[in-house]
């Protein structure tokens, strides 16, 4: 008992008081900022080095559905056109809004009234890891730890799709897992939301060229929320949901 009291006093209060107002320190790489400066003539160094084909040159944009936030393009660019900021907002309700350019600086989340009217104060999610490398899964688990404490907003992961109001898909979706993933989605009762969390889930990430993936079934689904990052930081995930549920 004495050990427990000592450990509990030592633990103190660990939760982040306001998750919407946390500034992460450099060199954390969050939302890329694209400067409004011209590229050097004929330069396509960033395009060549990008491991996930996230960059378009004309007009210049970075696709957050593909970007794994590695620092390569920022380092290689001779004119410093790309800069990774510490902004954790990497999510959108519309995949077209995930394209970041010098004019579109940040992705936007547009809440769905039908969803917020039902799930605003209680959202139970079922995780489907479909070939996720365990980084996304560990970060989803971290959302519920004492630091980030997502449970205080009524958002929790549940054990069964039958108990869930939505599913969170992580990983590039291997062919071997596609059937089980689809069955789990089907087993979740309507109305439900479908969240793609992490670059792999949205585009295949670093595995986008692999033949062992099977992503076609996603086309038949309405995706409600795209969450960027490799893996998404717990603050990215929680803040995306809070905005989507009109809680912040």
């Amino acid at each position: 008992m004495i050990y427990l009291i000592r450990a509990r006093i030592n633990q103190g209060y660990q939760s982040i008081p306001d998750v919407t107002k946390v500034a992460l320190p450099a060199p954390f790489r969050g939302l890329p900022e694209i400067m409004d400066i011209p590229c050097s003539d004929g330069c396509s160094a960033c395009l060549k080095i990008c491991p996930t084909a996230a960059i378009n040159l004309k007009p210049f944009s970075i696709d957050l559905k593909r970007c794994i936030l590695c620092p390569d393009c920022e380092i290689i660019c001779p004119v410093n056109k790309i800069k990774f900021t510490q902004d954790i907002n990497l999510s959108s309700t519309d995949e077209r809004l995930m394209l970041i350019s010098s004019s579109t600086k940040t992705p936007i989340i547009i809440p769905d009234k039908k969803i917020t009217s039902i799930f605003k104060r209680s959202l139970k999610l079922r995780s489907i890891s479909a070939a996720g490398c365990n980084a996304c899964e560990l970060e989803l688990n971290a959302c519920s730890n004492v630091n980030f404490d997502m449970g205080r907003f009524g958002i929790e992961f549940v054990a069964s799709p039958r108990h869930a109001d939505g599913v969170v898909i992580t990983g590039p979706i291997s062919a071997n897992m596609a059937y089980a993933a689809m069955e789990t989605i089907k087993a979740t009762p309507d109305p439900k939301i479908i969240i793609l969390s992490g670059t792999c889930a949205m585009s295949g990430g670093p595995f986008y060229q692999s033949k062992a993936l099977s992503r076609d079934f996603l086309k038949s689904l309405k995706i409600d929320l795209y969450i960027g990052g490799c893996p998404p930081h717990p603050l990215t995930f929680i803040n995306a949901l809070l905005k989507y549920l009109e809680r912040s």
């Binding site: 427990l4 633990q11 160094a45 990774f84 730890n145 590039p172 291997s174 990430g205």
Partner: protein, 506 residues
């Protein structure tokens, strides 16, 4: 010619110097060496370039006493067979199954010849995943329980089939493959130097160990020597990863026995450790930390002081929490004598890393096959006895202390005045590696040893890339651990093993 060529960890060797011996002789040799205490590191087949119908089998064994690796090969016709070594040396069982899956060469007499991971494009060798031939059990009071591939927690997918007698587990069959992303195929394509991002995601919890293995292999094939500062950053990154994942494991064990103080205390300590990784490289999982022949990130004096401060805090807090955890009667009652793997079983099954150490086997490639800075900072494997869940938890606790010590020593050696060296991410132009060479690298990740083998073709491009994660050796240990335990102990046993699904499935 000798039957084997002897190399060191991470030492490249010309293909022409690797012996090619008859298949029966190779099998005899492997059996003889494993019985004498060597460990299988790699054993795989690849199509011989010059001939369509021939498969080259490559075997790599590790001699932990002399710190050397033995490599040998043989050629065998496609669709031919060889005499399985599994009945005599069970630790090779999965390698043989993988050879059948990947090449069609059959290990005749293998007692458990089932698909490994239903690799893409190998259906002719494996059949369909939905037709997996599970073991069955019959008789009074017996039943089978199917779990997965989608599990109750936020965890990777895998399928478990429990063969039970009442509450008691007779045997657990583990069927994996759901995480298969075709990693090895991707690593064989294109520019060998820009594969860091794929390697980082082989297993996201073992990012550092795998990327280091990849970088070490390429540096050896390019004949590049990296600076001491880069070596130090790698050691710090690897040990931070080890501490973080051991804290996850201890937190998970706490959660699975319903001991919430443990779950929250270990959980928040993990946060400060992965945030330290983030302060170095911008990613909580060390993505971007290691690149072949380069380092993007440096450690300046402020960061050095910050890391030391975090270590002091961790040192203080972890002692308090460990004292609480390992003195709690409720905790010990659940951990002790649960999920036992005996020393003999661990040895026979070829378990590695913490799963060997918890059964009194001092298996640690930082000690036996030192790489990088571990040639300078010596590591003594942290072993414990009994081989139960408690032993696994204790070993993880001991390793946290040891890793803190290693990071302190490494930081002392770091000379931040050398930070001005240029940043080179190098992957722009296709660099060729030494043509027709091979290299085997091993790095001791937090689970245990991970190993990569690269073979280059005559143009210096990657002809074959083979990845072996610790979990490839260790999953079967879990099946051994749950035998004769109550089925309700499975989550605890599983968490205490903490295997990688994607590291196995690739």
């Amino acid at each position: 010619m000798e039957n084997w060529i002897t190399v060191k960890n991470g030492q490249s060797v010309a293909l022409e110097n690797i012996p090619s011996i008859p298949v029966a002789l190779l099998c005899d040799e492997i059996e003889r060496h494993i019985i004498n205490g060597l460990r299988p590191i790699q054993f795989f087949g690849r199509p011989k370039i010059s001939s369509n119908n021939t498969i080259t089998l490559t075997a790599v064994l590790a001699d932990d006493n002399s710190g050397t690796l033995l490599i040998s090969t043989c050629n065998i016709e496609k669709n031919a067979s060889f005499q399985s070594m599994t009945p005599k040396t069970p630790s090779i069982h999965l390698f043989e199954r993988e050879i059948l899956e990947q090449t069609g060469v059959r290990p005749e007499g293998h007692p458990f010849l089932k698909p490994v991971r239903y690799e893409f494009g190998k259906e002719v060798n494996t059949g369909k995943l939905k037709d997996y031939p599970y073991l069955t059990i019959g008789g009074d009071e017996t039943h089978e329980v199917a779990v997965g591939p989608v599990h109750a927690g936020v965890i990777e997918p895998g399928s478990f089939r429990f063969l039970c007698h009442g509450e008691k587990v007779y045997h657990l069959e583990i069927q994996l493959g759901y995480q298969h992303r075709g990693v090895e195929a991707l690593l064989r394509q294109g520019n060998p130097l820009n594969k860091s991002h794929i390697v980082e995601s082989i297993a996201g919890d073992t990012t550092i160990a795998h990327t280091w293995c990849y970088a070490m292999s390429l540096e050896s094939l390019m004949n590049v020597k990296i600076t001491k500062e880069i070596e130090i950053i790698r050691v710090i990154a690897l040990e931070l990863e080890r501490i973080a994942m051991h804290l996850v494991g201890l937190g998970g064990i706490s959660m699975d026995i319903g001991y919430l103080p443990g779950a929250s205390f270990f959980g928040r300590l993990r946060t400060i450790i992965i945030n330290t990784s983030m302060r170095i490289c911008g990613s909580r999982f060390g993505k971007g930390m290691i690149r072949p022949a380069a380092s993007i990130f440096k450690i300046d004096d402020n960061l050095k002081a910050y890391i030391l401060e975090i270590l002091d805090k961790l040192h203080n807090d972890i002692e308090i929490i460990k004292e609480l955890f390992f003195n709690s009667a409720g905790v010990l009652a659940r951990l002790e004598k649960t999920g036992i793997v005996t020393t003999a079983q661990a040895k026979e099954a070829g378990l590695l890393g913490i799963m060997a150490k918890m059964a009194e086997l001092p298996q640690d490639s930082r000690a036996s096959h030192p790489f990088g800075l571990y040639n300078e900072i010596k590591v003594e494997p942290c072993i414990y006895h009994h081989g139960d869940v408690c032993a696994r938890a204790i070993v993880r606790g001991l390793e946290i202390d040891q890793s803190m010590d290693i990071i302190r020593k490494a930081l002392e050696l770091y000379d931040s005045s050398k930070n001005d060296a240029g940043i080179d991410i190098g992957a722009q132009d296709i660099v060729s590696l030494q043509p027709s060479y091979a290299v085997v690298s091993m790095v001791e990740g937090w689970r245990g040893e991970v190993s990569h083998m690269i073979i280059t073709d005559k143009f210096g491009q990657i002809e074959h890339y083979k990845v072996v994660d610790t979990s490839f050796h260790n999953w079967f240990g879990l099946a051994l651990a749950v035998r004769n335990n109550g089925i309700s102990d499975f989550p605890l046993c599983n968490k205490s093993f903490d295997q990688s699904y994607c590291g196995y499935d690739l």
